[in-house]
C-alpha cells in the first residue's frame, strides 16, 4: 500500500527535478523569472538579471505545481499531503545535489559555457539565491513547503467546484442558444446569416485602422495561414491524401507574382491582380503535373513523394541553374503591391483588408464545396476508396480535383504573401512551412473551419505574441505540439457532421426547434 503510494510520487519528484535541471541548463529559469518580474511591472532591460525575489517566486510556483499534480484526485487529504511531501522532498534532494555542483562551479570559477552555452555564472548565482553553500538546504525546504502548499490548494478547491463551473458555462451557453432559437422573429432567421456576415464585416473594418502595423501584420499572417490551411484541408482532410510538400504550391503563387510584378530580374510589370491570377493557375498546373503520375500512390508514399516535390521546387528556385530566372538565393525584391481603381492599395491596413476578404471568401467556397456532391465524394474516397468507387465515384478525377483546388488556395495565399512582404526568396518556402500548415490542421481540427482558424492562430499568431520569450519560442512551440496531440488528438475544435435529417425536419415544420448539438457530437 505505502509502497504503491511512495514510488509514483518519488518518480514524479525525480522527473520534475530533471525538468528543473534542464530549465537551469538552458537558462529558462531566469527567463521565466524575468517574465514574472515583467508581470509585476518592473521594467527589466533585455539580458539583465531580474531580482532574486522573482526567482524564488518561480521556484515556489513550480513546487506548488509539483504538489498539485502529484496528489492524486481520488485520495484522502492526508494521502494527498503525504504524496506531495514525498515528491517535494525528492525534488528538493535532486536539485540540492545539482546545486552542490553548480556551487562548485561558482567557487572554482570554472567556465563551462564552451559546452553548456547558457550556464552563465550570474544566472547560476541567481538560481542559488546568491547563498552559495547553504542554497541546497534552502531549495530543499522551499520545494517541500511549496509542494505541500500545492496539494493543500488542491484539497481546498476540489475538482467538484471546477466541474460545477464548467457545468454552469455549458448550461448557460445552451440556455442562451435555446432562448435565441426560441424567440427569434422569422425575418432574422431568413437574413440571420447575412446579417452575421455584415456584422463580421463591420467588425473587421475598424480594428486594422486603429491597432497599429504590427497587429495588422500578425492578423494578416494568421489570415494567410487560414487560407493555406483550408487549401491543405481540401487535400488532406476531405480527399485524404497526405501531402507534405504543400509549400511548393505556395512558392508557385509567390514566385509568379514576384516574377511578373517586380523590376528585377525580368521587369514585366504586369500588375498585381493579373499576376495573382496567373499565380493561382501556375499552382494548379503544378498540382496536375504532380498529381497525374502519383495519383495511384498510398498514404506514406504519397507523403514522401510530395515532400520530395516540395524540396525539388525549393532547391530549383535556389539553384545556380535558375538564378538568372528566379534570382537564386537572393530571391526577388521590390514586388509591387496591388492597386485599386488606379491608386495604390498596398498599405499594411489595405493588405489586412485584402487578406480578411480573401479569407472569408475561401471559407465560403470551402463550406459550399464540403456540402456538395463533390465534397461528399471526397469524404467517401477518404473513408474507403474501393467502396466509394464501387458506389459510382470516380476516384482519379475527384482526387485530382481536390489536389488542384487545394493548390489554387495555396497559390492565392502565396501571391498575396509575396506582394505583402515585397520580397520572396527560397527561405520562405522551406519544408517547415509545409509542416506548419499540416500542424495547423491537426492542432485545430481536421475539416472544421473554426478549428483551422484556431490552429492558424495557435501556430502562427502565438509565436508572434510569444516573441517576448525570444529564442525559447520554438522550444515551447514544439513542446506544445506534442502535448496538444496527446491531450486533444481530435484538435482544439473538432468537426461535427451536419444533421441533415433534423434540419430537413425543421424545414418541413416551419417552427425552428432548439437546435442543440447533433446526435453525433
Amino acid at each position: 500500500m505505502n509502497k504503491k503510494l511512495v514510488s509514483p510520487s518519488l518518480k514524479r519528484g525525480l522527473t520534475f527535478g530533471i525538468v528543473m535541471i534542464i530549465f537551469v541548463l538552458i537558462d529558462l529559469d531566469v527567463m521565466v523569472a524575468t517574465m514574472l518580474s515583467k508581470l509585476f511591472g518592473a521594467n527589466v532591460i533585455r539580458g539583465s538579471i531580474p531580482d532574486v525575489g522573482f526567482m524564488v517566486l518561480f521556484l515556489i510556483l513550480f513546487g506548488m505545481f509539483v504538489g498539485w499534480s502529484t496528489s492524486s484526485d481520488d485520495a484522502k487529504p492526508t494521502t494527498k499531503l503525504f504524496q506531495a511531501l514525498v515528491a517535494g522532498l525528492t525534488l528538493g534532494v535532486v536539485l540540492g545535489l545539482f546545486d552542490l555542483i553548480l556551487n562548485q562551479l561558482i567557487v572554482t570559477g570554472t567556465d563551462v559555457r564552451k559546452y553548456l552555452a547558457a550556464l552563465a555564472p550570474e544566472s547560476i548565482r541567481l538560481f542559488l539565491f546568491d547563498q552559495g553553500a547553504i542554497s541546497p538546504l534552502l531549495h530543499l525546504g522551499l520545494f517541500t513547503v511549496a509542494s505541500l502548499l500545492g496539494s493543500l490548494m488542491k484539497i481546498l478547491l476540489k475538482s467538484e467546484s471546477a466541474s460545477r463551473f464548467f457545468k454552469g458555462v455549458k448550461s448557460g451557453y445552451q440556455g442562451l442558444q435555446a432562448k435565441a432559437q426560441a424567440n427569434t422573429p422569422n425575418w432574422v432567421k431568413k437574413y440571420g446569416k447575412f446579417l452575421l456576415f455584415l456584422l463580421i464585416g463591420l467588425l473587421a473594418f475598424f480594428p486594422p485602422r486603429i491597432w497599429g502595423s504590427y497587429n495588422n501584420y500578425v492578423v494578416g499572417l494568421v489570415g494567410l495561414y487560414v487560407i493555406l490551411g483550408i487549401g491543405l484541408n481540401i487535400i488532406v482532410g476531405l480527399s485524404g491524401q497526405l501531402m507534405l510538400g504543400f509549400a511548393a504550391f505556395f512558392a508557385m503563387g509567390a514566385y509568379s507574382v514576384a516574377l511578373l510584378n517586380a523590376p528585377l530580374p525580368h521587369g514585366i510589370m504586369l500588375g498585381f491582380w493579373p499576376s495573382l491570377l496567373i499565380g493561382i493557375l501556375m499552382a494548379v498546373v503544378a498540382a496536375v503535373l504532380l498529381g497525374l503520375p502519383v495519383m495511384g500512390m498510398r498514404g506514406d508514399y504519397l507523403a514522401i513523394v510530395t515532400l520530395g516535390f516540395g524540396e525539388i521546387i525549393r532547391i530549383l528556385l535556389k539553384s545556380d541553374l535558375l538564378t538568372s530566372f528566379t534570382g537564386g538565393p537572393r530571391g526577388i525584391q521590390d514586388i509591387r503591391g496591388p492597386t485599386l481603381f488606379g491608386q495604390s492599395f498596398s498599405s499594411d491596413i489595405d493588405y489586412t483588408y485584402i487578406i480578411l476578404v480573401v479569407m472569408v471568401l475561401s471559407i465560403f467556397i470551402y463550406k459550399r464545396l464540403e456540402r456538395s456532391r463533390t465534397g461528399r465524394a471526397w469524404l467517401a474516397v477518404k473513408e474507403d476508396t474501393k467502396v466509394a468507387q464501387a458506389t459510382g465515384v470516380n476516384i482519379m478525377t475527384n482526387k485530382l480535383l481536390a489536389l488542384c483546388l487545394g493548390a489554387a488556395f495555396a497559390g492565392l495565399a502565396g501571391g498575396i504573401f509575396a506582394a505583402r512582404n515585397q520580397f520572396t526568396g527560397p527561405n520562405d518556402h522551406q519544408l517547415m512551412v509545409s509542416m506548419n500548415i499540416l500542424s495547423i490542421l491537426i492542432v485545430g481540427g481536421v475539416n472544421s473551419i473554426p478549428g483551422i482558424i484556431l490552429g492558424a492562430f495557435t501556430l502562427k499568431g502565438l509565436p508572434e505574441i510569444l516573441r517576448e520569450i525570444e529564442n525559447y519560442r520554438l522550444l515551447v512551440f514544439g513542446g506544445l505540439l506534442v502535448v496538444m496531440m496527446i491531450s486533444r488528438p481530435e484538435g482544439l475544435w473538432p468537426a461535427t457532421r451536419p444533421n441533415i435529417e433534423k434540419d430537413e425536419g425543421n424545414k418541413l415544420k416551419e417552427n425552428g426547434a432548439p437546435g442543440e448539438g447533433g446526435l453525433n457530437d
Binding site: 464545396l369 456532391r373 474501393k386 466509394a388 441533415i500
Partner: protein
C-alpha cells in the same frame, strides 16, 4: 421467360496457383432472386467481385443486358446500375447515415464543383431533391430517425440495412447481396428475408444473393446455384438443390448424402412415434 439481365459465361479467376472461380456459368432473368450457396472459400464472393468489377476475370465474360462489362472499373459498373453490399459491412463509418445514402446517390447527380460554389438554381434544386430522396430511402430501409447517427455508431442490423439503402440509392437494376443476414438472430433474419422480397416485388430489382442461412435461401430464391472449390456443382430451384446429393456431399463431406438420408428417415419415424 424474360431475357437475362446478367450472364456470366464460363468465368475463371486465378490467384497465383489457386483457381478461385473455375469456368462458372450463371444466367439471371430479370426480377428474379438468384442465390449462390456453397461452403466457405467456394469462391462466391470472388464471383461477386468479378461481376462488380473489383476483379478482372482471366477467362470468360460478364454480360449485362448483353454488353460485356468485365474489366470495366467498378464506378462504371455501378454507373450501369449494378450495386452491391459486402460480406463484412463496409460503410463510410465517420459519415452520417444520410450522407452514406447521399453518396450512394452520387451517380444520379449531375452538378459539378463549380456549380456548387456559385449555388446555381439547378444545384439547389438537385441538392434539396437528393436530400429528400435520401430521407425517403432512409425511411424505406427503416432507419427513420437514425439519419444523423454516424454509421459506425449504428447497431449491427441497421448497418446492414443502411448498406442496402446505399446500394438502392444507386437505382440499381441488379443488386448483389453478400450474406445480408449474417450474424442476425431469428426475427431479424425473418425481417431481412421479407425485406429482400419487398425489394424485388416493389422496386422490381433483380437480386443475386450469397447466403449461408438455408432457411432464407430456400425461402425466397427462384433459382439457386451451388459453388464448391470454385466450380458450379449444381443449379436449380430449392427442391432440386435439396435433393441433389453432390450438394450434400459438398456440405457434409464424402458420404454425407447417405448420412442425411438416414437422418431424414429417423426424423420421419420420430414424427410418427409421437
Amino acid at each position: 421467360m424474360t431475357d437475362p439481365i446478367i450472364q456470366v459465361k464460363n468465368v475463371s479467376k486465378i490467384f497465383g496457383g489457386l483457381t478461385a472461380v473455375n469456368q462458372v456459368d450463371i444466367e439471371v432473368p430479370e426480377k428474379h432472386i438468384y442465390s449462390i450457396i456453397g461452403p466457405n472459400g467456394a469462391g462466391k464472393t470472388t464471383l461477386f467481385n468479378c461481376i462488380s468489377g473489383f476483379y478482372f476475370p482471366e477467362k470468360g465474360e460478364v454480360l449485362f443486358y448483353g454488353d460485356p462489362i468485365q474489366g470495366l472499373s467498378t464506378n462504371l459498373v455501378a454507373w450501369l446500375g449494378i450495386s452491391r453490399t459486402y460480406q463484412n459491412i463496409r460503410l463510410f463509418n465517420n459519415l452520417t447515415a444520410v450522407e452514406n445514402i447521399l453518396i450512394g446517390l452520387h451517380r444520379n447527380l449531375k452538378t459539378n464543383w463549380f456549380e456548387a460554389i456559385i449555388h446555381t438554381k439547378r444545384f439547389q434544386k438537385e441538392e434539396s431533391g437528393s436530400v429528400k430522396e435520401a430521407l425517403r430511402l432512409l425511411d424505406y430501409v427503416g432507419l427513420k430517425g437514425y439519419g444523423d447517427f454516424l454509421a459506425k455508431n449504428l447497431p449491427y442490423g441497421l448497418q446492414r440495412r443502411l448498406e442496402i439503402g446505399r446500394a438502392l440509392a444507386n437505382q440499381p437494376k441488379l443488386l448483389l447481396l453478400d450474406e445480408p443476414t449474417a450474424g442476425m438472430n431469428m426475427n431479424e433474419t425473418a425481417e431481412a428475408t421479407h425485406f429482400i422480397k419487398r425489394l424485388r416485388d416493389e422496386l422490381g430489382i433483380t437480386i443475386i444473393l450469397i447466403e449461408h442461412d438455408m432457411k432464407v435461401v430456400m425461402g425466397i430464391s427462384d433459382r439457386i446455384s451451388v459453388l464448391d472449390y470454385g466450380t458450379k456443382i449444381a443449379e436449380g430451384n430449392a427442391a432440386e438443390i435439396q435433393a441433389n446429393p453432390r450438394v450434400i456431399e459438398a456440405y457434409l463431406g464424402p458420404g454425407g448424402a447417405a448420412l442425411s438420408e438416414k437422418y431424414k428417415k429417423q426424423r420421419l419415424s420420430n414424427a410418427k412415434s409421437n
